[in-house]
């Protein structure tokens, strides 16, 4: 694990996830059409676009959370480090340990703060004993910038924290399984501005270790936290490139209309 981190750090521009001609169907509804995208390691990639454009749907394809929705079908090829994640041999359970996810609404389990973070390591058997687990929990809570606020009440329920703290707890919980990619589905939409600022700061720090993909409604947020941006419209990936280029010099007229507020 640590070796891998060392290796990838050498080349910050490694492609982590590669999608080619990805299609998603909900029953008869063709939700995602021909999406080609390369998600880079150690980079924050933002998916933007109007509501219902398919950006969350596509995000959920990346760790096969779509499997839990009846009638959902994915075609095309999505690979993680060159391995097709929709291959029959792939166990979604293993995939999701590598590609973690943080959701729109903070969803801490009705357990203690400690147990929330320890949940992933426990089910995946990542630690050998309690001392190691304690270390992992502390490390993750520190990475999530939550340790100082909760270190004296690790055994209290996670549901008792404030909204921003809950979302950081969920991030800590997600990084506790040592994922390679972290997917975030509008992680700040349920938070107030101060909590949003804290989470955005955290995302920026996480970039040093993970590849982060964030779906957001807010173009400002995309501009603040991401290095690369993908613009989705009606199930199509319209434009994908450097964040600065997308916001200052979009190539597609649809991107420009969206950024200037004419569609949305």
């Amino acid at each position: 694990m640590k070796d891998l981190v060392m290796e990838t750090r050498v080349d910050a521009q490694t492609v982590k996830i590669e999608a080619r001609k990805a299609q998603v169907f909900y029953g008869q509804n063709h939700a995602i059409k021909d999406v080609d995208v390369d998600i880079l390691d150690k980079t924050v990639t933002a998916f933007i676009g109007p509501s219902g454009c398919g950006k969350s749907t596509f995000l959920r394809c990346l760790n096969r959370m779509n499997d839990t929705i009846p009638g959902c079908r994915v075609e095309g090829k999505i690979t993680l480090e060159g391995e097709d994640i929709y291959d029959a041999r792939v166990d979604p359970v293993q995939l999701r340990a590598k590609v973690g996810m943080v959701f729109q609404k903070p969803n801490p389990f009705p357990k203690s703060i400690y147990d929330n973070v320890a949940y992933g390591p426990k089910i995946h058997g990542l630690t050998r004993n309690k001392a190691e687990l304690d270390e992992v929990v502390e490390a993750c809570l520190r990475k999530a910038a939550l340790w100082n606020e909760v270190k004296d009440r690790l055994q209290t329920p996670g549901t008792g924290l404030s909204g921003g703290q809950q979302q950081r707890l969920c991030i800590a919980r997600a990084i506790a399984t040592s994922p390679e990619v972290l997917l975030m589905d509008e992680p700040c939409s349920a938070l107030d501005p101060i909590a949003t600022a804290q989470v955005e700061e955290l995302i920026d720090e996480l970039r040093s270790q993970f590849s982060v993909v964030i779906v957001t409604h807010s173009m400002q947020q995309a501009a603040r936290v991401s290095q690369r941006t993908a613009f989705f419209h009606l199930g199509n990936l319209v434009e994908y490139g450097e964040t600065g280029q997308i916001f200052t010099n979009p190539r597609d007229p649809r991107t420009e209309s969206y950024i200037t507020g004419r569609i949305g």
Partner: protein, 482 residues
């Protein structure tokens, strides 16, 4: 005048009020009903209600209260010497009632009663001929009491009829006299109807009062005849109809709890796992027919389960398990009743658990699955702990249902009150003993009969406590996710 005829007369008066009130209203407005405050029918309804409701209320209250007053008066006429040894007031009173009823029949046939009431043997013969069987010749004071009862009954009936008719006519007159265009007939009838609605919802409260009152009253009666200490602390149950019974509740409570425990051991895993499967794994199509199919189990009357225990499960357990293992040779046993009751209780556990599991927010499942947990890990470590209070509530409701169940244990558990651990032995429960002590011709005032009320009170308290606790837990749980 019979009650039926009285009812008809009152109804006729009310119908008249309906028509007359309407007509009067139209007339008072000079034929232009726009001048009336309310529609003409409301004036009619107002008069009809005033004619019928007070009169009917009087009749109902009178009929309920009459026996109590009259019978006390009649009882006071019987000399204590005429109450035979080993008998009681209530038994003698039932004789009095039967004689009075028999005399009524004889009178209806045109028989001359005067010679009969002074001649006990002739009276007995005449009554027997009329189909009223008496065990022995009634004592003179008993006959006198019966005669007094008849006299008071007919007087009371006469007064009731008179008063009711006066009330009906007065109500009708008053109702009609108030018909004027500016009279707010609709508001008046509506507030009347509102009281009727409130009265109907009070039936539930009255039922509870009736249950509690009858249980507490007769239990108090029982404890006057039998020491409460022995009832609560003795471990033998051995009713003797000649007196000298031991009526300790523990063997019955033990049987009840043992049967219920086995039922829950069967129903909770099966019900809970079915609920989990239906809520988390089953496709919509499977769910749409499996859930109702399991719920059929809850719609089958308990007598069916009782018969199933008696003719199928009991003999099966006896021949294949109990006898080969040397555990007993009775087909009714705690195991038989518990197993069958377990089947009955499955849908109570599964339906409620299913609702509760579905109430756990999807976001928690997503959170867990998103971390790479398998669905079963998600269920066991996130969904079930989150749903635990609700499931505990469901299990408590099922337990209360099992404890109060009667027919399965009457037909499947046996009648022997025992404190034993062997589940293949016949044991008995609180409900079985309530049935056996209260059916058959037993003397109502003996402790052996009255103990059923003490058992009933115990059962009522136990199940009520469990229900309140369960409803409280379930409600708390629902609030958590609302």
């Amino acid at each position: 005048m019979s009650t039926g005829l009285l009812t008809l007369i009152i109804l006729a008066l009310a119908t008249f009020g309906m028509v007359a009130g309407r007509a009067r209203a139209v007339a008072s407005a000079g034929g232009d009903i726009r001048r009336l405050h309310s529609l003409p029918t409301f004036y009619g309804r107002f008069a009809a209600l005033l004619a019928a409701v007070p009169a009917f209320l009087l009749v109902i209250v009178w009929l309920l209260a009459q026996p109590v007053f009259i019978e006390n008066r009649a009882l006071s006429l019987i000399s204590p010497a005429d109450i035979p040894q080993g008998s009681s007031d209530t038994l003698v009173m039932s004789d009095v009632r039967r004689i009075a009823g028999g005399l009524d029949q004889l009178a209806a046939r045109g028989a001359d009663l005067a010679p009969l009431v002074t001649d006990a043997p002739a009276l007995k013969a005449a009554l027997n001929a009329a189909g009223v069987a008496l065990q022995n010749e009634p004592a003179p004071s008993v006959i006198a009491a019966a005669q007094a009862l008849r006299a008071m009954q007919s007087t009371s009936r006469l007064i009731m009829t008179g008063v009711a008719l006066v009330l009906a006519v007065a109500g009708l007159g008053w109702g009609l006299s108030r018909v004027r265009p500016e009279f707010r007939a609709r508001n008046a009838t509506e507030s009347f109807s509102m009281w009727l609605l409130i009265g109907c919802s009070l039936v539930a409260v009255l039922t509870t009062v009736g249950i509690v009152a009858s249980l507490v009253f007769e239990t108090a009666h029982f404890f006057r005849l039998y020491p409460a200490k022995d009832f609560f602390f003795s471990t033998t149950w051995n009713p003797q109809f000649r007196g000298g019974s031991s009526l300790g509740i523990w063997p019955l409570v033990w049987g009840t709890l043992y049967v219920s425990a086995i039922a829950l051991v069967v129903a909770v895993p099966v019900g809970l796992m079915s609920a989990v499967y239906l809520a988390e794994y089953a496709s919509k199509k499977t769910r749409s027919w499996v859930k109702p199919a399991i719920e059929i189990l809850a719609g089958i009357p308990t007598i069916v389960y009782g018969l199933f225990a008696l003719i199928t499960v009991g003999p099966l357990l006896r021949d294949w398990i109990a006898q080969p293992a040397g555990l007993g040779d009775s087909s009714s046993s705690v195991m038989t009743a518990g197993l069958v009751m377990g089947i009955m209780v499955i849908p109570f556990v599964s339906s409620l658990s299913d609702d509760i599991i579905n109430a756990v927010p999807q976001s928690l499942r997503d959170g867990s699955l998103g971390l790479g947990a398998t669905p079963s890990e998600t269920v066991r470590q996130v969904v079930l702990p989150a749903a635990l209070p609700g499931i505990v509530g469901a299990v408590l409701l099922a337990a209360s249902r099992a404890i109060g169940e009667t027919m399965i244990v009457v037909m499947g558990a046996g009648a022997a009150a025992k404190l034993s651990l062997n589940p293949f032995e016949a044991m008995t429960t609180v409900t079985v003993k309530i049935v056996s002590q209260l059916t058959g011709d037993t003397e109502f005032a003996s402790p052996e009969t009255l103990v059923a009320f003490a058992l009933g009170l115990t059962l009522f308290t136990l199940t009520l406590g469990l229900n309140i606790l369960a409803l409280y837990i379930v409600r708390k749980y629902r609030e958590q996710y609302e």
